[in-house]
């Protein structure tokens, strides 16, 4: 996996482990939300506000500081086919979203304190005792995953259960998932498995089945947590072509430096010009 090899030097290779990740196969999701609860229980995530959102069966709303797994429910009316009386056209898609643990993780790139780091498992984790709450990571994330907690000002997100991984255990969400919709394992294996699975589904007539963020050549270098979707990412509220928001930074810095230099030069020029009077 070339994307993986690209960032191997991003973390200390002393405790090198195979890169671990999630393959969330939404074609197996039954929307039970066990992942949401198992995550909150294990990670001691504070309770969220009780809000009746009425977004189908979703009252969680979105990933955030206090929601590290989020099951989306999409009621979708399919185009009526010939010979179909319209009754069979309703589809109810369910999908458990999570931090993508990007290969090129912008949140980590912009973090000034080193609180966000890449673990020996290739996952991206916030260290709560280092985070100073600057919030740079929040707009950097192309998925809107990482978020500051109102109560303490620090940034929080899925750790891929770093503590459990260190004990050779499966992350809580994958452990709780009754239908193997959330699969945990070595990323390389998961990608192979997913390729086969999506092929099978398309063959069975799931024309919209597609992998999302499984490609190391995409805008984030592929994700450590990728998905099999039954329709386009937009349908699930996911960005169709996410980009590492820091990818353009060198160029931006170059331009900024140039502009700053020009500005400095002109200020200095003005100063000297003034003095010369």
């Amino acid at each position: 996996m070339s994307g993986f090899e690209l960032e191997i030097d991003l973390y200390d290779s002393a405790d090198q482990q195979p890169r671990m990740g999630f393959f969330t196969d939404t074609s197996l999701c039954i929307g039970c939300k066990a992942c949401e609860i198992a995550c909150k229980e294990w990670n001691d995530v504070p309770e969220a506000d009780l809000v009746h959102r009425g977004m189908s069966m979703d009252n969680t709303g979105t990933l955030g500081a206090d929601t590290w797994r989020h099951v989306a429910f999409i009621e979708e009316r399919q185009p009526v086919e010939l010979g179909d009386d319209g009754a069979g056209g309703l589809r109810w898609l369910m999908s458990s979203d999570v931090c993508k643990h990007c290969t090129h993780a912008a949140c980590l790139e912009v973090c000034p304190t080193g609180s966000l780091f890449r673990t020996e498992f290739g996952t991206v984790v916030v260290q709560e005792d280092i985070c100073n709450g600057c919030g740079y990571c929040v707009p950097a994330c192309p998925f809107g995953v990482i978020d500051k907690r109102k109560e303490d000002g620090r940034a929080w997100k899925c750790t891929l259960c770093y503590d459990r991984l260190k004990e050779d255990q499966t992350p809580a969400c994958a452990q709780a998932c009754p239908t193997h919709s959330i699969q945990f394992g070595e990323l390389e294996d998961l990608r192979d498995r997913a390729q086969k699975r999506v092929g099978d589904l398309v063959e069975k007539g799931e024309a919209g089945a597609q992998l999302y963020l499984a490609d190391p050549s995409d805008g984030i270098g592929g994700a450590g947590a990728f998905f099999l979707l039954l329709d386009d990412p937009e349908v699930y509220g996911l960005p169709p072509d996410p980009k590492d928001t820091t990818a353009e930074l060198p160029g931006i810095w170059k331009t900024t430096a140039l502009a700053a230099g020009t500005l400095l030069a002109s200020v200095l020029g003005a100063a000297f010009a003034g003095r010369s009077r």
């Binding site: 197996l28 039954i30 929307g31 039970c32 939300k33 066990a34 949401e36 609860i37 909150k40 229980e41 309770e47 969220a48 506000d49 009780l50 809000v51 009746h52 959102r53 009425g54 189908s56 069966m57 009252n59 969680t60 009621e75 009316r77 009386d85 009754a87 069979g88 309703l90 589809r91 109810w92 898609l93 369910m94 009754p178 239908t179 193997h180």
Partner: protein
Amino acid sequence: MAECHPVGFQWVMEARERGAKIIHVDPRFTRTSAVAGLHVPLRTGTDIVWLGALINYVLEGGHDFREYVVRYTNAATILSDDWVDADDLDGVFSGFDATDRSYDQSSWRYAGMEPPPAAGEPISAEQSHGAHGADLESGEPPVTDETLEDPRCIFQVLKRHFTRYTPELVQEVCGIPPDVFREVAETLVANSGAERTTAFVYSVGWTHHTTGAQYIRAASILQLLLGNIGRPGGGILALRGHASIQGSTDIPTLYNILPGYLPMPSASPDLTLDSHLEKITPPAGFWGHSREYMVSLLKAWWGDAATKSNDFCFNHLPRITGDHSIYPTIMDMRDGKVEGFFVMGENPAVGSGNSKLHRLAMAELKWLVIRDFQMIESATFWKDGPEVDTGELDPREIDTEIFFLPAAAHTEKDGSFTNTHRLLQWHRKAIEPPDDCRSELWFMFHLGRRIREKLVDSIEARDQAILQLTWDYDVHGPTADPDAEQVLREISGFGWPDGEAVSGYTKLKGDGSTACGCWIYSGVYADEVNQADRRKPGQEQDQVAAEWGWAWPANRRILYNRASADPAGRPWSERKAYVWWDAGEEKWTGHDVPDFVADKSPDYTPPDGAKAEKALRGDEPFVMQPDGKGWLFAPTGLTDGPLPTHYEPKESPVVNAVHPAHRSSPTMEEFHRDDNLYNPAGDEPGSEVYPYVLSTYRIAEHHTAGAMSRTLPHLAGLAPELFVEVSPELADERELEHNGWATIVTERTAIEARVMVTERVTPLNVAGRQLHQVGLPYHWGWSGLATGDCANDLLALALDSNVHISEFKSATCDVRPGRRPRGPGVLELVESYRRRAAGDAT
């Protein structure tokens, strides 16, 4: 199933991934529908028309598994000349007594058999589901026609009975288009037979009808005709409402059966152990050993005090005088006839049908004991319930003394769960329960111990039943918790007085030399090992996984599995081989424990005078039945007819298209009282006031009446408020706004809910018009973190006459935009509806 049993649903998903086709028949479009191959939305309460049409399709098309049907079911048996179908009697079967709305079942008997003697108290229907078929005079039906051509043979009776259940009727009554019906019928037939099997899975919603028992019967008929019983991948799987509800039926919390489905004795004064056993013991099949089961139970309970000379303390057993099931008892409670009430792990103030009536009734008690994890609404209704708000209850005038006793969770106690698969799984205490929390076992044991201490000097006859109980379990730990494994061991059984564990129910004796707390569980402690505690992972075993836990009876994983082999004892197909006759070894063998006498050869014929299982032939797999056959037609045991026939729900928006003279079940139990008013229904004047069909149900986010989910922050957040699911069409018709409020009204009360407009609810075309169904989850009450009105307040109590379960799934209602009034205004609103429904325009 994905909604209420997501963990068990993993196996359905696995089956789907292996190529199984999942068909979901449900008025709701649920999480199950979302992953099923086909969702069939039918109008609630019309399942007999739906299943009846499938039966008709199988019979008319000759799609039945003929050899299985002829040899293993009672299809060939000829009925007596007295039998008349409901079609020929304007909607009721022969034997109906219109005065007391009940059946004399004697005309349903097989030809050539005498009707049962009229003397003595009859065994009630729900009791006879224990020792069913006791009325059959002998094992073998006297007259059969294996060509199935005799017009009075059950096969032909069935054919005639179901002939009117057509795809057109399904369209008209259930609202299911004929092409959908055809797709299901063809799938069922193609997936049944020697090579393939089909399973039916239902959750308790199927029983929440006034005709619920007949729904299950209809599914049984279909599955027997298709040869899908007793075979791997077949069967009818009943998913229960909570953990171990199966266990609480096996070792019952029901009033009318004893452990192991032995009938509770009735109160006739001259009843003795012998005369009771005579009534409940059929001549053939394993119920022929009722004496062994009963006497062993009495020995387990009364030990040395139970002797042959005192009928083994038979007279210590409580007797029943009528219907003492929960709902009539609640009515009695309301009427001041019940003093005390134990509520353990249940929240009737929220979850029961007509829960408002339950609250009003509990306010009439002298004392009430609540054991739960949380201070549930059933413990606090007297001070903060809706009736305090309306002024119907005044805390100052309620005399009920309430004892709240906190309960230990399953992680805080030893014990077993019995799941829907009859599988016992042991769990061990991980931590001590906090504070005053105690296990149920602790509570019952120490309550009994203290009562016995108070009675110790009593010479009253009535107290001897308590004083002579074997109540001597060891206690452990800081709370003196009784030893749960000792209880399990007693349930499993041992010799008396030697105390050696028995290996199973075939070792039980009727002479007092064995004790066994529940004969069907006998063997769970065989070899002095807690068999329910076995934990060999599935992947280390074959697919039967016989070493995970222990299934009753005798660790059999599929009941009646003799039917997985043909009459000669060979598997019907290699693909579906399960148990078979090994002619060389002269015994039954296979993947599972054979549900058959191990060395009874397929060509065994009973000698004259044979009893119990010895009176059944070697090719009769249904070993609990007195004729060894699967019953397509039930000659005895059901209170509402030997065959399923369609009646509308008690509250239905339409007339009965099958039996116009009987809109709803002629035998259902109704309670015409001011606190249980029924909406006008069918073509009754006033029915237009309640034009919509109403169903209440569960969603994945919460557990039953909410005590275990609404009180926990994370779970409460998943579904924080009560909502009513309506179609976009109904939202238009009633000007309901998504996420706004609606008020739902019945003759009982009015509640409010947030509006969920969703295409998952579809209007149905029924009886020539568009019919709207609305649905409400019933999880909410006024306490806890997630609160809301109690949806089951809307329901009236109307019971299936067989099992006394109320019709939770079918009622009618009106829906109006906006919130309900506060305070007494609710009563005024409901009263205005009642007046309109009664035709009073003022």
